[in-house]
């Protein structure tokens, strides 16, 4: 971690579903569970909505990590959107490897509406892993390949 460039703060995008993970994140807020402020969340109705394009766009825009979070399997408000999203994540992870990105930069988690504490733990974990990996090569300010983007 000591090798990380000075002034760099992880830039992490979270795409989270309205019914479980967004509600879980709200619950963490209500309970005042503290976690690092490095994640920016975008709300979709279901993780099934997450187009691989969104994740690739985030990485080409310089995101250091992307988190996709939905309902537990079997709990999806739309029956099975989270399964389909999870399957797509494998595809995107292999794409990331192909372009030379560590696939730990993409993470899918399952946080229910009653798991505020788990949400905080997920964020802490994602931030820690990102700090361990350092800035993404495509990070617009600190990345090794910033001239390319």
């Amino acid at each position: 971690m000591a090798e990380n460039p000075e002034g760099w703060q992880p830039r992490i995008l979270a795409i989270i579903c309205n019914w479980c993970s967004y509600a879980g994140a709200d619950l963490a807020g209500g309970a005042r569970i503290q976690y690092p402020p490095d994640v920016r969340a975008i709300r979709v109705m279901c993780t099934g909505r997450v187009d691989p394009l969104f994740i690739m766009k985030a990485f080409t825009d310089g995101a250091d990590s992307v988190l996709v979070s939905g309902c537990h399997f079997g709990d999806c408000h739309y029956l099975e959107g989270n399964y389909k999203a999870a399957k797509r994540m494998f595809l995107v992870k292999s794409l990331l490897k192909n372009i030379g990105l560590d696939d730990r930069r993409l993470r899918m988690t399952f946080v229910s509406a009653s798991e505020g504490a788990k949400w905080a733990k997920v964020i802490e974990d994602v931030v820690n892993v990102t700090r361990e990996l350092g800035p993404s090569p495509f990070n617009r300010e600190f990345g090794e390949l910033k001239e390319l983007v």
């Binding site: 830039r11 995008l13 309205n18 019914w19 479980c20 967004y22 509600a23 994140a25 709200d26 963490a28 807020g29 209500g30 005042r32 569970i33 503290q34 976690y35 690092p36 402020p37 490095d38 920016r40 969340a41 975008i42 709300r43 979709v44 109705m45 279901c46 099934g48 909505r49 997450v50 187009d51 394009l53 969104f54 766009k57 985030a58 825009d61 310089g62 995101a63 309902c71 079997g74 709990d75 999806c76 408000h77 739309y78 029956l79 099975e80 959107g81 389909k84 999203a85 797509r88 229910s112 509406a113 009653s114 798991e115 905080a120 617009r140």
Partner: protein
Amino acid sequence: MAEAVSPTTSEKSKAPRIGVYICHCGTNIAGSVDISAVEEYARTLPNVAHVDNYQYMCSTPGQGKIEESIKEKGLTGVVVAACSPRLHEPTFRTATKEGGLNPFRFEMANIREQNSWVHMHDREGATEKAKDAIRIAVAKASLLEDLYPKSVPVEHAAMVVGAGVAGMQAALDLANAGIKTYLIEKAPTIGGRMSQLDKTFPTLDCSQCILTPKMVDVGRNENIELMVNSEVEEVEGYIGNFDVTIRRKASGVLSPKEAEARGIVGGGCTGCGDCVPVCPVTKPNPFEMGMAPRKAIYIYHPQVVPLLYTIDWDSCVKCGLCVEACGEKKAIDLEMQDELVKVKVGTVILATGYELFPIENKEEWGYKRYENVITSLEFERLICASGPTGGHLVRPSDGTTPMRIAFVLCAGSRDNTGIGKPYCSRFCCMYSLKHAHQIIEKIPGAVPYLFYMDIRSFGKAYEEFYYRIQDEGAKFIRGRVSNIQEDPKTKNLYVYAEDTLLGRPMELEVDMVVLAAAVQPTDLTNKTRKLFGVSCSQDGWLLEAHPKLNPCGTTTAGVYLAGACQGPKDIPDAVAQAEGAASAASIPIHKGEVELEPYYAMCIEEKCAGCGMCVNLCPYSALSLVEKDGRTVMQVTEAKCKGCGTCGGFCPGGAIWMNHFATPQILAQIDAFLIGGEQ
């Protein structure tokens, strides 16, 4: 790159002018976020035409600011940076509408639940995050379009799943309000847990005496269609139009109505019971907690509604003796098959109740190892006049009357060992007090010992009841029972605990131990909730839409909760919630129509290659392929689409436009976050 406007937008909208409103929420937000720095920053963002802040944006003056400035500044979109959209999105959509804009031109930036409250000690981090959140929201608001909710008619019928006291009350209320109500029960009779109880606290009313009139009312009510031996199999549709498939399990016995339908005149089960003595199979009766026998053809108890016998297929040997005994009534059909029944209802109430936690998992108390350790429900049956012993409390080991009885409260409740349940089961304190009273009343000289952590007598006239039992001579020992040992000869039990008020360990020899076992959701609750898309808490209790302000609703529109399926509840609480749920469930039905969120998918036909991948992905069969102008394109049935966007997340050609969550809108949010909104 996807189109920036939806297929239904005919003209390119004018340049966006966005108003940004930042809420202090008292000090809830302002305490951790530098509001003036965020406001200054918001002014520099592209498309922002107006920025304001206020103590409480949700207040009438706060909303007034939005309404006025939309008109004054000619805004095309509104961003409020405040709490969660799950809380106040409807409020600000209304304000946006009052200001003359389409309500869907509103976007919320969550800077409270997901910012100021979780970064309370990092003002700089929280302020930067708030700036980003507003930038992201402005980017989306700049691309939002007018949307119009669809009104759909509501079926004038409701369904209640579970016919315990809560389900029965909800069904009666709905039916008495003139709504056709399907009451679904997995057991062969309605009545639920309450029908197993002897007395009810604190009034000591006989449970059956107050319940059976309700059961009869349910059975007789013209608007209630009772379906026992039934489970929900499949659910399709949405609020107003749920298509529910119910599996009516073969009971092997025809009701008079069913017999008539088969052309058997004057036949069908009359509940005479002639079939029972001839049946050669004997099994434990689950209604009596296995402490009394029943035949393979049986009823739970004499007051069942509907009064129809049922065959237990697991134990029936199909000898046919019952068929002979039934004779001319021809009520028994040993070849009966399960039946799938489809009904259409507007709203649904889940009332699936509770069951006892398997207390044998707490091995230190020896349940199922020691004969004289019983659960509270077994005690209810043993003390009940209509129970297996006619109300004479006896020891299971030798049939003698116990004189010293220990009650273990919080048995598996308030238990953080990982074996039991962390929550309070809420009614065990009170029924244990009632049990103590019943012992003192029925067995002269008998002494109940209550091992408790705290006596939680919180309800109306409950604390008074507690004092009464103290005066009657029950012994209270504040301490948790650590271990129970059986004397193998006498089958008496040695209870070990620490008396925490005296601060010393104690040992007590008793004749019988009653475990006030924790409660948990029933086995079918999880399956049923998934069919209706209802969430649950970590303990498996069904999750209400809001713990304080919407305790009967769920996140699935049109599905409501009643009774202990939502959390442990005593009878008055369960009935009260049932009445609340019935009232909530009747509102859309009486209104006759509901508005659906217009988040459905649309096909951008020029881009659609007609590959049909999306058709297979849709869990609601809302998509289909059609021929149009000589080529194949996808078509959305809007009423079926629930707006999950699974199709839009996959479409390889970017040919699906998800209203309010369209690809260009989401990409704009991502760009806004990472590269500042300018491409």
